[in-house]
């Protein structure tokens, strides 16, 4: 549905986005995750045709955004970071204006009522947008994006400024919309992406540093996946039982805890030993007091990845400096000092 290839946006000598490529299939919800200033909004602005890329292409619904802007844009509903609202209009006037702007051929009154109901703004329909709270304004912006039920929704930080209850509502709404729409959602709030998006693209300093499901990203970052278990049973017998369970590679005893023993279990690749572990222990009637794996949270993955990217950039800079130093002959350097 959305194809982004080799996208680059340069402001002077600074790259806001460099060589970013990804594609989003129909009905997929993709989360763009990155710290402030990573280039998320720039990518979204290019996809929606607000900005043009220095290099690279974007196609939406099979239409190139530069060659067929009208057709491509008709596929997209866009909620920018700051909702584009006319504060002097009422909600109804604004949505009616957006409806005409999108050249929709639906029953206007009915459709606007439907959309308002979806995002929960029926009770403020006749109020001036300038008098509404931040949460309502955000939802009016979202209603604008939903007008015409476009196949692609681009939502830039859609839950900013909402209270916790509204955040949950909007997240549920987005999940629900994901059944019929292709959605790209940006956020710097990790739990939000984890809650809503089956797939995450992490952006750091204009580059993609990871692409995958939150779970697979966490898996790929976790070195030596382990299970920690606290088992109330005789030490040596427990050890031999654990070693017999299919899929267990190695067992290590970590010491006594709560009158029981704590064990670190290293499973074979991709093997899930939790179920056999549970049944084996229950047959012996040895209670399992605690079980946890060491999978990283998305937050940890993100911090690790951004730290790694920064470290690589630092090393590259040092390498370049060293090369520059090597290029200068020692004689010249001495002359300069004199």
């Amino acid at each position: 549905m959305i194809e982004v290839k080799g996208l680059t946006k340069r402001y002077g000598v600074k790259y806001a986005v460099e060589d970013v490529s990804f594609s989003v299939g129909e009905g997929e919800i993709l989360g763009l995750l990155g710290p402030n200033g990573a280039g998320k909004s720039t990518i979204m602005n290019i996809i929606t045709g607000y900005l043009s890329a220095t290099d690279g292409t974007v196609t939406v619904g099979g239409y190139d955004i530069l060659e067929h802007p009208g057709k491509a844009k008709a596929h997209i509903g866009y909620l920018p970071e700051q909702p584009p609202l006319y504060l002097d209009m009422t909600v109804e006037e604004y949505l009616s204006f957006s409806f005409q702007l999108k050249k929709l051929r639906l029953n206007k009154g009915e459709h606007i009522r439907e959309v308002c109901q979806k995002v929960g703004i029926e009770e403020v329909q006749s109020r001036r947008i300038g008098n509404l709270s931040r949460g309502y304004r955000q939802r009016v912006g979202l209603a604008q994006a939903l007008l015409g039920s476009p196949p692609v929704l681009i939502l830039d930080e859609p839950t900013v400024g909402l209270d916790p209850r509204q955040i949950t509502d909007i997240r549920n709404l987005i999940k629900d919309l994901g059944k019929q729409h292709t959605i790209i959602l940006s956020s710097h709030i990790l739990p939000e992406v984890q809650a809503v998006c089956p797939r995450v693209v992490m952006i750091h300093q204009g580059h993609i540093i990871a692409d995958g499901s939150p779970h697979s990203l966490a898996n790929s970052m976790t070195v030596g996946r382990r299970l920690y278990a606290r088992i109330d049973g005789p030490k040596e017998q427990v050890r031999s039982l654990l070693e017999q369970i299919a899929g267990v590679e190695e067992v290590e005893e970590l010491g006594p805890r709560e009158g029981a023993f704590e064990w670190a279990i290293l499973p074979k690749e991709e093997a899930d030993v939790r179920r056999p572990l549970f049944f084996a222990l229950s047959r012996k009637r040895w209670p399992l007091l605690f079980l946890q794996d060491n999978e990283m949270s998305l937050e940890e993955v993100f911090l690790a990845l951004t730290a790694r990217a920064e470290e690589q950039a630092r090393l590259a800079a040092i390498e370049m400096r060293d090369e520059d130093l090597e290029d200068e002959s020692p004689g010249e350097a001495e002359e300069e000092i004199v």
Binding site: G70, K73, P84
Partner: protein, 234 residues
């Protein structure tokens, strides 16, 4: 384009700008009408139009200052530019909205003509010629003002820029008498809005005048579109 036109028209009258423009314009035109027609027993409206020339030049920036700047400041340009509407459609919609409010203003001169026609003949060719001249002048000034407004997010700067352009157009007439080089004089005079407007005010339908004002409008509308296009790429 219709949607943008409708939205901009309503914006003029949701804010005081439309009312202020019309009130100030009606006040001054009424002032000139009273002085040059009613008080001096004159059936010709030439005096009114001559007086209105500079008033129009200075009032148009009030109309155009918010046209583009407001959208840039409040980021509503994102809504317009990401909609299926073309850039030219958007610019034309805004342009026509300002032009309609302007038309509402200068239409008062037709009312004056009707008032005169109850007492004497207002000499219709002069009235219609002047009206056409005022309309063409407005078209060109609105295009210039809109272009300036597209360059900045700040409405005050847009207005000041518009006043600067108006002042330049008024001063350019005086400049001709200081120049000695004939080509330069001809060039400066050919840029003069006042000379072109005068020939309409005398009731002369000058095709070169029509072409001049329409040309200036077209150039600045085109430049406004280019400003948006350029902003997208830079």
């Amino acid at each position: 384009m219709k949607a943008v036109l409708h939205r901009e028209l309503s914006a003029y009258f949701h804010s005081p700008i439309g009312y202020v423009f019309l009130a100030v314009f009606y006040f001054f035109s009424g002032y000139f009408f009273t002085l040059t027609c009613l008080r001096s027993m004159n059936a010709s409206l030439s005096g009114v139009f001559a007086g209105l020339f500079s008033i129009l030049l200075f009032l148009v920036p009030i109309l155009t200052m918010r046209l583009m700047s407001e959208d840039l400041r409040s980021k509503t340009d994102q809504l317009l530019l990401t909609s299926p509407l073309s850039l030219t459609g958007m610019v034309l919609g805004k342009y026509l909205a300002a032009l309609l409010v302007y038309l509402l203003g200068i239409s008062i001169t037709l009312v004056f003509a009707l008032v005169i026609s109850t007492m004497a003949s207002p000499h219709w060719p002069v009235v219609l010629g002047s009206f056409l001249g005022a309309l063409l002048l407005g078209m060109a000034m609105i295009a210039i003002g809109m272009f300036i407004s597209s360059l900045t997010q700040n409405q005050v700067i847009a207005a000041v820029g518009g006043f600067g352009a108006a002042l330049f157009l008024i001063l350019i007439d005086g400049l001709g008498s200081y120049l000695t080089n004939e080509t330069l004089v001809a060039l400066v005079m050919s840029l003069s809005f006042y000379q072109r407007f005068q020939s309409f005010a005398l009731g002369i339908l000058s095709l070169s005048g029509v072409g001049f004002f329409l040309g200036v409008s077209a150039i600045f509308i085109f430049l406004t579109v280019r400003v948006f296009e350029k902003r997208r790429w830079s």
